[in-house]
């Protein structure tokens, strides 16, 4: 606990220091998700908090009407036209968004990819997101442990065309393979991250073949909610589950013992850290050429925004843990990633 407060104190000191430097920087921040989705809801609070904490001129959480790259591009263009000059963007498409970011760059507006990555090489200054491979791997390991090291696992995943889904599939496959012959994959059931299709697919599989499923790992926000509800309705407690994200329904299911845990992501931290980094860049800082970025098959400037498995044991403290991770990243951000004159 002492360590957390020390880090938080350092972060605040660093922020106060940067606030002094930033007097001249006119920062109008826009946080733009790929479309409407509950995962991004914490960005709104992060935008508001960042405006106060970092002394931004303006901050806005702007949601495209639908999951269409074209709609997202038009929204970003209109925000740039309104004078927004710092963008945190969940890429509507790993490559397509690069074009928009390049135009923003030419316009003098730096952008970062948050929540998901663009395809490198990218004009995005960096990508700040969950290490989805690691998250899915840890979640599946936790599930296998809850299953007693044997049984068949169903994966309820997000959109098949999403590169993150492919990484999650690979991670789950690896965790299952490492568990030995007693653990097997039942099926990757993808495209379950919307209410209607998710409901039909997950409940359909459970209705037809629940007896042959011993565990569920859900890697989509809505998929987790649907699967948690389905298991609660099923009511026998035999099928174990690890979900993703911290929807109240999922947390409630953990508390009731219906599911065993959920993989926490850090959307608030992603947006908050991005706001800080963008502000520093508009103050004249540049990304260090030798910054210690992680690399994944998609992106060469990756920063892990943190992941942990929420269980009954840490359900009351996980938010502090996530905040601690975000504070840690901010506290060392200048030193690790920036060159400031």
């Amino acid at each position: 606990m002492l360590k957390t407060w020390t880090i938080a104190g350092l972060a605040l000191a660093s922020l106060a220091c940067s606030a002094g430097i930033s007097a001249a920087a006119d920062v109008k921040l826009a946080l733009v998700p790929g479309g409407p989705h509950p995962f991004f809801a914490p960005w709104e609070q992060a935008a508001a908090d960042a405006k106060v904490a970092f002394g931004l001129t303006e901050s806005q959480y702007a949601v495209p009407q639908d999951w269409q790259l074209d709609l997202q591009n038009k929204l970003i263009e209109s925000l740039a036209s309104q004078g927004y000059n710092a963008f945190g963007i969940f890429p509507g498409d790993a490559t397509g968004t690069n074009e928009t970011m390049a135009e923003l760059e030419a316009f003098g507006a730096p952008s970062v990819a948050i929540g998901g990555c663009t395809q490198s090489p990218s004009p995005a200054k960096f990508c700040l997101a969950t290490d989805v491979y690691r998250s899915a791997y840890l979640g599946t390991k936790a599930l296998i442990e809850a299953m007693g090291g044997k049984g068949a696992i169903m994966h309820a995943g997000s959109r098949l065309v999403d590169p993150n889904t492919q990484l999650r599939i690979a991670a789950i496959d690896k965790a299952i393979e490492e568990a030995g012959p007693d653990v097997m994959l039942y099926q990757h059931v993808t495209d379950t991250d919307s209410q209607e299709t998710g409901d039909a697919k997950i409940n359909g599989v459970l209705a037809a073949d629940a007896a042959n499923i011993d565990g569920i790992v859900a890697t989509g926000y809505v998929s987790s909610v649907i699967a948690a509800r389905a298991l609660e309705n099923l009511g026998d407690g035999r099928i174990k589950m690890i979900g993703i994200d911290d929807d109240p329904i999922v947390l409630d299911a953990i508390n009731k013992g219906v599911i065993q845990g959920t993989m926490a992501q850090n959307p608030y931290g992603q947006a908050y850290i991005a706001a800080y980094a963008l502000k520093r860049m508009l103050e004249g800082c540049t990304m260090r050429a030798d910054a210690p970025f992680d690399e994944n098959p998609q992106n060469a400037t990756f920063i892990d925004s943190g992941t942990l498995v929420i269980t009954k044991a840490n359900i009351d403290t996980y938010r502090d843990e996530l905040k601690g991770i975000a504070d840690d990243i901010i506290a060392s951000f200048d030193e690790k990633y920036l060159t400031c004159n």
């Binding site: 038009k74 498409d93 074009e99």
Partner: protein, 338 residues
């Protein structure tokens, strides 16, 4: 130059058609006036409306919207619809991506291939309409799903992302502060003005749209005209698909999913009749300009995107209302209801 043309087939001629002409010119003039007022007001009172960034992005989106509107307009001339416009645009985008990335074809050849593919898919719509005798609404509703489905099956929903820089540069081209997409829209518009004012095909399309039976009796190969018109619509949709691909520097399977509303709004606001027999190329372009400027102004005024969707729906209702009013006015003067 007027882009208004009356069909020769049927009973429409004489003094009454001059009344129609006047009504239509007044309609286009009114549209122009509204555009001038909104643009003037936005220039004066909406911050950043005249900024170079906004002018460029506004005209780039406008270029695409104009062409999407043209794609629907040509089949509206027949009294038909093409609900597969977006699906054809998506297929063309994937074809140009495949030709450039997988086959490594030169850019002009890849673009020509995509437009040809669009024309073939459009022609298939026409053939199905002619052969089945079903309404184009039903046929193109079905083929929209069919084309999207086939494209997903063939590409496994994988985008083509490694397109040549020269191709992507097409999406960034500028003419002064404006996007070069406006030039493409201008070229397509000029071609359509020629087709509908000075070619036999244009007259045949409008005559078929005005009265199919009369057109057939007067020797017009109605079935062929329907197929060719749908092919033309498909080719125009493909041009829009290629433009969006260049703008995104990626051929994405999701291209075209949002085209339906603007495809109807532009021509209908511009005076093209839902029932067929009359099109206005300039009117469709003005309709697209009005919509783009209005949307852009609302966005710059921080009006929520959900309200903008509401306004677009309202605009479509208004356009259809005007269309109906004109039909009633024409009937009151004793001319056929077109």
């Amino acid at each position: 130059m007027s882009d208004v043309i009356e069909p020769r087939a049927g009973a429409r001629a004489g003094a009454a058609s001059w009344g129609d002409r006047l009504l239509r010119v007044a309609h286009a003039g009114g549209l122009l006036l509204v555009i001038v007022l909104i643009t003037g007001g936005a220039s004066l009172f909406v911050p950043n409306f005249l900024s170079p960034f906004n002018q460029f992005t506004l005209t780039r989106n406008l270029g695409v919207d104009i062409i999407i509107g043209f794609g629907m307009m040509v089949v509206l001339g027949l009294g038909h619809m093409n609900l597969a416009l977006g699906a054809i645009g998506a297929c063309a985008a994937m074809v140009v991506g495949f030709c450039l990335q997988t086959l490594g074809l030169p850019i002009p050849l890849a673009i020509a291939g995509a437009i040809l593919a669009g024309a073939l898919l459009g022609a298939l719509n026409g053939v199905l309409v002619v052969r089945t005798g079903l309404d184009s609404f039903i046929i193109t509703l079905a083929t929209a799903s069919l084309y999207f489905g086939l494209m997903f099956i063939l590409t496994r929903a994988e985008a083509f992302r490694d397109l040549p820089a020269d191709f992507s540069a097409l999406g960034k081209g500028r003419v002064g502060p404006y996007s070069s997409f406006l030039v493409i829209a201008g070229v397509v518009a000029a071609g359509l003005v020629v087709i509908f004012n000075f070619s036999e095909l244009g007259r045949q399309i409008l005559a078929t749209g005005a009265n199919r039976t009369a057109a057939s009796l007067s020797g017009i190969p109605v079935n062929r005209v329907i197929i060719v018109t749908h092919a033309l619509s498909g080719a125009i949709a493909a041009i829009a698909g290629v433009m969006v691909t260049a703008r995104l520097a990626s051929a994405l399977p999701s291209i075209g999913e949002e085209w339906l509303l603007p495809s109807f709004l532009a021509p209908l606001l511009g005076g093209t009749l839902l029932a067929g027999g009359f099109v206005s190329v300039i009117g469709a372009a003005l309709g697209a300009i009005l919509l783009s400027v209005l949307q852009n102004t609302l966005v710059l005024l921080n009006v929520s995107g959900f309200w903008i969707q509401f306004f677009l729906g309202l605009a479509l209702l208004a356009a259809v209302g005007i269309d109906r009013w004109r039909v009633v006015q024409t009937q009151k003067r004793g001319t056929p209801g077109r």
